[in-house]
């Protein structure tokens, strides 16, 4: 699948330049570990640079866009159109005094912002930004994504527990309860995607979608929906940000954090958002491919465009949807998404078996599966919602009865009795 190295100046894939550099180093007679280390350092630096720039840009974009959605202007004072606002914010966070609360667990309190940064940045190692632009194309890439995502929980718990603050602890407990529930959904929907592609290597999944000229999102609408929701929960953004719901528990697990330590949490949250968007793009939207356009436009530009597009949907939902309650969110995971994800895995397994046993060509099989899965998604979502609605005990709304004995005001049925 991977074409041989093109010339180094072929910047449709920056991997070409890096590959040429590595070959050059090898030709100089360096030991084998030198290009290995050099490629690692280049990859890490490139990813860090990209994340810093993207986070700074999106802090501004998100504040402006959410401002527009909420009928206000947003930051517009620092620099042209407020473009330098993120820089000012970052400087402010850097110079703030780092306060540690009384009786806080000092070691864990300092460690938590650092630890939360590791998994969020490590995720990008397996994401293929372009054909050759992947730092470590692990053959268990999808599992790696889920495993690394589960480490976040511990850092959040460390932050919440060590703060010695009940709101922080409640936020941490909420995060754990939520992430455990939605991790299950993630595993199940990604399993269905992996079943289709036949590989857990992210590069292979992109190549599969390129080969058949179809995005997995058309074959897996239900899976995509489940992953988008589970991803929103994992990245802790507004419709599902009950771990830091400011109207309920101040700021959740990072209530006591200020200065650059808070900045770390803030940036880690953005990076988690980018990571989820990158996974959605890679698994469900063809990664860096776009039906042949990648021959002319650099694949990494296509990838980034898709990534920012998906991330914009999350900003949009943050600007428009109200926050869910924790019981609603948990019930939604266990009662609604989990059964649907299980059925989805079963259906995909059956389809793959059919594909193998009935010797269908891909031209016949994939459109068939696409139609079946789309209809099934609609039927399952509608049907299951209807079924759950049937189960719900009927509640008749009464108006509150303020006083009965003292007898000043009567409402509702009590008033009718008079």
């Amino acid at each position: 699948m991977i074409r041989p190295l093109a010339e180094w100046y072929d910047l449709r894939d920056i991997g070409n330049a890096v590959g040429a550099l590595l070959e050059q180093i090898e030709d100089w007679g360096a030991p084998e570990w030198v290009p290995y280390v050099v490629s690692g350092v280049i990859g890490v630096l490139a990813i860090l640079l990209w994340t810093v720039i993207s986070v700074l840009a999106f802090i501004w974009i998100e504040r402006r866009v959410v401002g527009l959605m909420q009928n206000r202007i947003g930051p517009n004072r620092v620099g042209p159109s407020g473009l330098l606002q993120p820089v000012a914010d970052a400087l402010k966070l850097l110079f703030k005094e780092p306060v540690t609360t009384h009786n806080a667990d000092r070691v864990l309190f300092w460690l938590a912002p650092v630890v939360i940064f590791i998994p969020t940045i490590v995720v990008f190692a397996v994401i293929p930004f372009g054909e050759r632009m992947v730092l470590a194309d692990l053959n268990v890439g999808v599992l790696f994504l889920i495993a690394i995502g589960s480490i976040n929980t511990i850092a959040v718990f460390m932050a919440g527990w060590s703060s010695n603050n009940k709101y922080a602890l409640i936020g941490a407990m909420r995060t754990i309860a939520m992430l455990i529930s939605y991790e299950l959904i993630q595993v199940l929907v990604l399993l269905a995607a992996v079943l289709f592609a036949g590989s857990m290597r992210l590069g292979d999944i992109v190549a599969w979608q390129q080969d058949y000229g179809v995005w997995l999102l058309f074959l897996q609408p239900l899976g995509l929906l489940g992953y988008v929701i589970a991803g929103a929960v994992e990245m802790n953004r507004s419709p599902t940000d009950i771990a830091e719901a400011e109207s309920e528990i101040v700021a959740g697990y990072h209530t006591e954090y200020g200065g650059i330590k808070f900045g770390f949490f803030y940036q880690a949250e953005y990076l988690a958002g980018f990571a989820i968007a990158a996974v959605i793009v890679t698994l469900y939207m063809g990664g860096w491919t776009l039906w042949g356009v990648e021959e002319w436009v650099p694949g990494w530009l296509i990838f980034l465009a898709k990534l920012y597009g998906v991330f914009f949907i999350y900003i949009w939902s943050r600007g428009t949807l109200p926050r869910l309650r924790i019981d609603q969110l948990m019930a939604f995971a266990w009662k609604f998404l989990l059964p649907l994800a299980l059925v989805n895995v079963l259906v995909v397994g059956g389809e793959m078996l059919l594909w193998q046993e009935a010797d269908l060509s891909s031209g016949e099989a994939l459109p068939l599966f696409g139609v079946i899965n789309a209809l099934l998604a609609v039927a399952l979502i509608g049907g299951w919602a209807w079924f759950l609605g049937q189960l719900r005990p009927e509640r008749v709304a009464h108006r509150a009865i303020l006083t009965q004995e003292v007898g000043a005001i009567y409402y509702g049925e009590a008033a009718a009795d008079l």
């Binding site: 991977i2 041989p4 692990l138 053959n139 690394i148 036949g198």
Partner: protein
């Protein structure tokens, strides 16, 4: 049943190295194909990871604070995962992080936080001496076995890909134990649900 070849109608097949030319561009894969435990990097990684794992494990038993102990335990789990990577067991390594560092330790954290006085740390216990003796006995036995065994040194190369091999083994040769394990887990889950149900509901169903 043998695995059917999947190339008949041009379906995607994940080859080990999909580069037409002789050189494989992915350095990680090339490093994995070398004989294991031979190059300096792997040896350094092994000793560093071993030090982290053992040091963190010592920390688990040495620190007083239970939450700190769990954090050390997680570090130890991650170190073990790293050791698996030096053995080219990628699937097991990632599963180690997912199950142990991500799930088991979170359950332990839950248990500690939901237990009253959990954050006060480890209390003294009168079983100190017996526990020490037992631990020494176990350590002695393990150490003796490790030294006494004539360890065979494998000459094989690193695995290219372990996930598919493990998957086929689980669903082909060992399908019965696999299914029995899943039924066992289901029973455990149902048991937990029955245990935490409110009493009133149980009486209602009993009548």
């Amino acid at each position: 049943m043998a695995r059917r070849p999947r190339t008949s109608d041009g379906r995607y097949q994940s080859a080990e190295c999909r580069v037409p030319s002789a050189r494989c561009s992915n350095l990680l894969r090339r490093a994995g194909a070398k004989r294991l435990m031979d190059d300096t990097g792997t040896i350094i990684a092994f000793w560093v990871l071993a030090a982290i794992t053992v040091g963190a494990a010592l920390g688990v038993v040495a620190v007083r604070n239970l939450i700190h102990a769990v954090v050390f335990l997680i570090l130890s789990f991650v170190g073990v995962a790293g050791l698996y990577i030096t053995l080219s067991a990628d699937f097991v390594a990632v599963t180690q992080i997912l199950i142990y560092a991500g799930a088991v330790s979170v359950l332990i954290l839950f248990a500690i936080v939901l237990t009253p006085r959990g954050d006060r740390g480890n209390q003294e216990t009168f079983l100190r001496l017996p526990a020490l003796l037992l631990a020494l006995l176990v350590a002695f036995t393990l150490g003796y076995v490790a030294i006494d065994t004539n360890w065979a040194i494998s000459d094989r190369k690193g695995f290219e890909e372990t996930a598919s091999v493990i998957g086929e083994a689980l669903l082909d040769k060992y399908v019965l134990p696999f299914e029995i394990a899943s039924v066992l887990l289901l029973v455990a889950m149902l048991g937990a649900i029955v245990l935490v149900r409110p009493e009133a509901t149980m009486e209602e169903t009993g009548e």
